[in-house]
Amino acid sequence: MSTRLAKQGRLIDRSKQVEFSFNGTKLKGFAGDTLASALLANDQMLVGRSFKYHRPRGLVASGSEEPNALVGLGVGDRFEPNQRATTTELFSGLSAVSQNHWPSLNYDIGELNSKFFSRFLTAGFYYKMFIHPRPLWKHVYEPFIRQSAGLGKAPNKELKDADTYEHFYFFADVLVIGGGVAGLQAAKTAAASGAKVLLLEEKSYWGGRTPVDGGTIEGLEAEAWVEKTLNELNAMDNVTIRNRTMASGVYDHGYVLGYERLTDHAPGQGGPRHRLWRIRASQVVTATGAIERPLSFAGNDVPGVMLAASMRDYLVNWGVTPGKKVVVATNNDDAYRTAIALHEAGVEIVRLVDARESGGGELADKARELGIRVECGRAIAKVKDGKRVTKVAICAQNGEGGAREEIEADAVAMSGGWSPVVHLWSHCGGKLIWDEAQAHFRPDPERAPTSHDGNAFVVTAGSASGPLSLSAVMADAAAAGAKAAEAAGRPAQSVAAVETSEVSEAPMEAVWFMPAKADIQLRMKTWLDYQNDVKVSDVQLAAREGYESVEHTKRYTTLGMATDQGKLSNINGLAVLADSLGAEIPQVGTTTFRPPYHPISMGAIGGEARGEIFQPLRKTPMYEWHDKNGADWEPVGHWRRPFTYLRPGESKHDAVNREVKNTRENLGLLDASTLGKLIVKGPDAGKFLDMLYTNMMSTLKPGKCRYGLMCSENGFLSDDGVVARIDDDTWLCHTTTGGADRIHAHMEEWLQTEWWDWKVYVANVTEQLAQVAVVGPNARKVLEKLNAQAGGGMDLSKEALGFMEWKDGEIGGFKARAYRISFSGELSYEIAVAASEGQAFWDALMEAGKEFGVMPYGTECLHILRAEKGFIMIGDETDGTVIPQDLGLHWALSKKKEDYIGKRAQQRSYMDNPERWQLVGLETVDGSVLPDGAYAVGQGVNANGQKNTIGRVTSTYYSANLDRGIAMGLVKHGPKRMGEVIDFPGLDGKIYKAKIVDPVFYDKEGEKQNV
């Protein structure tokens, strides 16, 4: 059984007991425990179920490579699935539940199923099954499969995450990733050059493996050296160090993401839960260490079978042992350290099987001296199936697994050698080479990832480079730190050798199958990927079926696609694949390494952008007034505009109709502040505007306004608005709400990149001004009243300010510019005042307007009023495929100009084509409202069997003033077909019959606006 020992546990504080719960059972651990070590201390060997077969799963590793120990952590709005027990620091009140089982962890139906089916459920199973009959996949097979899919439970769908997140930008000369002895040494060396250094460590503690493995550095025990070095680094102000911060990805141009877990070890303490560091480093040192590989023997997935070095971690760091009678299996010397450590801690090593005929070095001798039974050239044939280890069968490594000796044991420590953690090196294109001696892929320093300047920007340090001995690791780390600092532009330094203790180790031997010629029964019980249940036999099958590319095998078997992304399984799987193909491992190659190194929270990625700062919300100066007065908001880009103003008990429809009638009969106010206002000034401004607009602007007289159209270079209508000429060399261009920034950018683009010799300056003054449309028969009255109250102001009479004229002056004591323009057909003024005074001006108008029946109106009323007049609306009549000619706007296309943006495009055959649909008005025969977006059908079908269409509705409304539906649309030969009735099939199954009419429905002579 696994248990806590009386001694050892360098990371735990036995004086601080911590209570937590697992599957509802109250358990105890110590401060400094991880959830994993605490579970082991409580003899919780079984921690989860595998993905496919629901096999019982126990802890295999001690770090983020752990594939099995995934739990649901927390409750309610802080619940999170798939948290690794090995990277979860224990805290008081921690609540964890195991995953992927029903009804319980111990008795799982899924396991019974898979016990029976597993021999059929091999790689490719789903591709070969459930093909007939067709409907069953959706209705029977897939629902069944989906129910068994997934690992952890989904968070509650109704709850919003209780935690917050943030980002932080940081710039460094040298970023060192990994706080083991290599990372510390690299940081120390780099910092000595004066470089600005950032050092990140994903765990809460520093030093990595070395304090566990032992050895001395500069005469100090590893642990003491780590502490000393940390203190030195902390004392330097060019060094920043951060624990609990994982570098999750390396991206182009030295961009690295750091994932800092601020409160996961102490939830609810306030402040952000995670902070995502957006780091720019000119050089990156990856001191990410190496990961031990499992051995491939039958039953290597039984709870209690663990990586040898991880077992040592649990012993030394947390004082727990997974068993009392341990079998150790290895192909290298490092596992001897585990045997020795366990033995010295009083744990019985029932057998150490070393696959190497020649056995190990110094450590092996020491083990024998301690009386540990070491057998060379031997292997594990099979671990007896079950929820924990009970029996282990030993056989000769070089055989099929016959002549087995069965021994009693409750845990197995295995070591298949070590693979450098190359993920971060590879994210941005770093290449790997195969190291035959160590049987692993390691970074190829000659083919490092390159940055904006084309130079390498990632250097590896320590065992991440390949070497495993302490002396080699420290030497490599020091060199890496110096190299990075120099590449970051710091003076070169001669690196002094770091003195370390040395143990001579015998070379490892690659062992991809245990025993070497294991038969199919054994291979079908030999796991490569523990979480996804991929076995040696699956990879061999994939190869046999022609899925020869490593990517094919990965995808066909799901090897390495689990939440550990194959940290333990990839190399072993590759070796099996290579063997099956009779190829060399380097020829087979690896799959692509993609970020993140280890999963990071979506919350952290989103950062602070949630709730009210999810996106910027643009507000006009009168926003709060609208909000208090019933505004029903409509998002328009990042702006929000009142769609209508609801009165208590009023429906949207009624509110809109009220506004529509009142504006025509009395007085309406529209907040038009969102309309774009661009000042264009300079000797060449007229010439410039003549290129930008389809019509002539250079001839506009100061004091006058003109409606203008803009097209893209591709010929399509992009924006419209009223242009006012301010003085000889100054124009003010109004754009649509959406157009302000877009058209400003459009102008700057042409001025900067095409006509840079033209003397024109543009300024966007959209937000400088609050603009109010004062509309209706009483418009002049209310403004004159304001002037009267203020004892004077600008003359707004028909004579003094005619239609399509503007002037500056004062209105009601406000410095204002008044435009006599109308988008409604009513007597209408648009008044611009300083944005800071917008609310005051609006208040004054509302107050003075009372006696004239003033009401604010929203965008829907605006749309209806313009539709009644047959005015087009960018975004309704236009959609990016419409040219001015389609809308009968030929009058706005200057014949005098040889060029304007879009003119050439409009001369192309399909644009200059009478068959194009043209703008008309549409009136339903029965007065009803045409459905939005409806198409008019013609005769027959096209070559692809689709019904032929002859037109479509572009805008459609109920007009309260005319008490009937009115619409505009584009219809083939439309203007030539006045009076014809055409059919619009609705989604409701009805056919709407509409007559083609003139688009001007109201006040055709335009008398009302000219009073």
Binding site: H253, Y255, E749, W756, R904
Partner: protein
Amino acid sequence: MLILECPYCGVHAEETELHGGGEAHLKRFGPGSSDDDFHDYLFMRENPRGVHLERWRHVNGCGKWFHAARCTQTLEVFATYSAQTTEPPQEVKDKISAKRPGWSWREFKG
């Protein structure tokens, strides 16, 4: 996440301050041009796997458009330069040649 140095304000701007503007040194064809010329001007973009000359705008910055010489295969940036030019200046061509001997792009060569 690219970094480009804006030649106007000198900021080493990260991509989020910038807006990509597509192929550089386009020659505008207007009324009177042939269908082919106009078509090529609007749609036939250079799309090399390698050296590319392109436009960027420092939109969240000084607002200026500029040109960049960049490798689309490695994302190496050879140089950034003024937008007020119809062809890459000699020193820019030299910088590219130093890294990609024998390069060519439209009518321009190393």
